[in-house]
Symmetry: C2
């Protein structure tokens, strides 16, 4: 666990979603939603880029910043060679630090961005990520036209994006939440090779990071308003709880998963829940940030979870390692 020497402020954040995200329980918390799944672009992939552009633009607008005030953008996504981030963020014309953490990218970018600022070499950086149901389905699973049946443990990739402006200084009214602790996770592989059960593949990594965090810090789950994993869904959340319980760590009272919060899984027929980089990113930048705004949240742990695999690696017989990065966000 890394305790920052000085807190890093979340000056602003913005979340973008599409139809199913709007219809879900957190729909009202999105800054922008569009009924056009391509966000006015020609392809799903270009639509995903457009979500990143919109998210960062909106976050900049909220903190009344010119984009040139950002000294770097940290971003990544799920598409091959992270092209959503490339084409979505190129026009900001800012030094670009590309990341790949699969669905853990939001916490990875926040953790790295916080250390860049804590180092004294940066004063303001952006952290952005996205995912898109249609671009993910055709890249990782089947073309949508195929109409493949989904397994009970399969998750629904969130069509969404989140952008955060990190700053060395608070806003003039001293009201912004701040990142105080970060932790980079290890890759954990327990042999899951079922690409329709990412929750199970990622859960051991989530449990590993959460357990280490509580052991190293001596913090109590009760200290937090919420302990949220990124996109484990029903299956992964249950496994994470059980793995932690077997180590004597009970977080259930405060624990939820962004993938279960973003959709009404039963009504919306989402099977095991939401997933994708855009899941934790849009829940953080939409729902969580607005809970901080109204002082309902004062202290949260966000553990974004990623499954490190490609369709090719699974076809070649590899199992699916997971990873989970953690950030602690507080408000005084």
């Amino acid at each position: 666990m890394i305790k920052l020497n000085r807190p890093v402020y979340i000056l602003s954040a913005a979340s973008v979603g599409s139809v199913k995200e709007k219809e879900g329980p957190l729909g009202e918390y999105f800054d922008i939603t569009d009924t056009n799944i391509k966000f006015g672009a020609k392809t799903f992939e270009a639509g995903e880029s457009e979500m990143q552009r919109l998210a960062l633009n909106t976050a900049l607008k909220k903190s009344k910043m010119h984009h040139k005030e950002l000294e770097a953008i940290l971003a990544g996504d799920l598409l091959n060679q992270c092209i959503s981030s490339t084409y979505g963020l190129i026009e900001f014309d800012i030094p670009f630090i590309g990341l790949f953490g699969a669905c853990s990218t939001m916490a990875e970018s926040l953790a790295l961005g916080s250390i860049l600022i804590d180092s004294g070499h940066f004063t303001k950086v952006g952290a952005v990520t996205s995912s898109h149901f249609c671009s993910a389905e055709r890249q990782f699973r089947f073309p949508l036209e195929y109409g493949g049946q989904r397994s009970p443990t399969s998750q629904w990739t969130v069509t969404g994006s989140g952008a955060v402006i990190l700053s060395e200084t608070d806003s003039p009214d001293f009201k912004k939440p701040k990142i105080t602790e970060v932790m980079f996770g290890k890759m954990v592989d327990k042999g899951i090779d079922d690409i329709t059960n990412m929750g199970a593949a990622m859960a051991p990594a989530a449990a590993d990071t959460i357990l280490k965090y509580f052991r190293e810090t001596g913090a109590n789950p009760g200290d937090f308003d919420i302990i949220a994993t990124g996109d484990l869904g029903f299956e992964g959340k249950r496994i994470t709880e059980n793995l932690l319980l077997s180590e004597g760590c009970d977080i259930r009272e405060k624990y939820n998963d962004c993938g279960l919060m973003i959709y009404d899984c039963e009504k919306q027929d989402m099977h095991a829940g939401g997933s994708g980089c855009g899941c934790s990113a849009s829940v953080l930048c939409g729902y969580f940030m607005k809970k901080f705004d109204i002082d309902e949240y004062k202290n949260i742990l966000l553990i974004c979870t990623g499954a490190l695999m490609s369709p090719g690696s699974v076809m070649q017989g590899n199992s699916i390692p997971g990873i989970a990065h953690l950030v602690r966000i507080e408000k005084s």
Copy 2:
């Protein structure tokens, strides 16, 4: 440009290559070369992972370190979802920070790793990357069996890997080179959409970063033993020189490109030169580091260049943005 508050030492480095790299002009500088293009693994992709494992293992051995002394690994590669890094580095069981900078990854990981150490939160981190001709060809271009004809501006993806151990402290004999300055580049897109001319796509980004570096620092090209770009090849090197000359910046006396150094392009029929994350990584960790060892180099600039594209993005009509990250390495 970021001037580190304290230098970050390169405690050790190791480079891995295959047959064509061994046969090239820098062949003797590789730590490990294997005549088996799969490095004993079952697939090209698994062979690429094995190169990363070998490179990091060898670098650790050189500095007599147990892998558990590393507090983080920063790594990435060209394969979809960066699976070479995942499967190559998972067994080290160390917090993992995944990057995607295309072929600029070596400088990106060194720059980020240096700041992590400069921040005081880390004392030792690893930086690793790789590329593999066969895995890259079948992912980005054609299956090898197709035997497609290569265009004059096409480059040959280096089958190679490089690993660096960065440390807050020098070796006991105070003889290690150190990173003193780093610079993250911006994405630059000049409209090149020819996937067989990556040099032209990346050159404007290289020129942008190099020009900014010299303007901000007031340094002279003559201050350096070598100014090396990552993998621009003949075409990209020529464009970079011309772009810089048009701005009054003449680096030609000290300038070379790792993609031109690693192969004898004419004899080895390499067309425009070498490319890939493994190109600058293995030239740095092999040739450059050994030149530092014998005090022939005291001061170098490495500018790793990346083309931010996927086969899908090009097929959808996007042009290819480039990016270039810079590190300055010195020895007292």
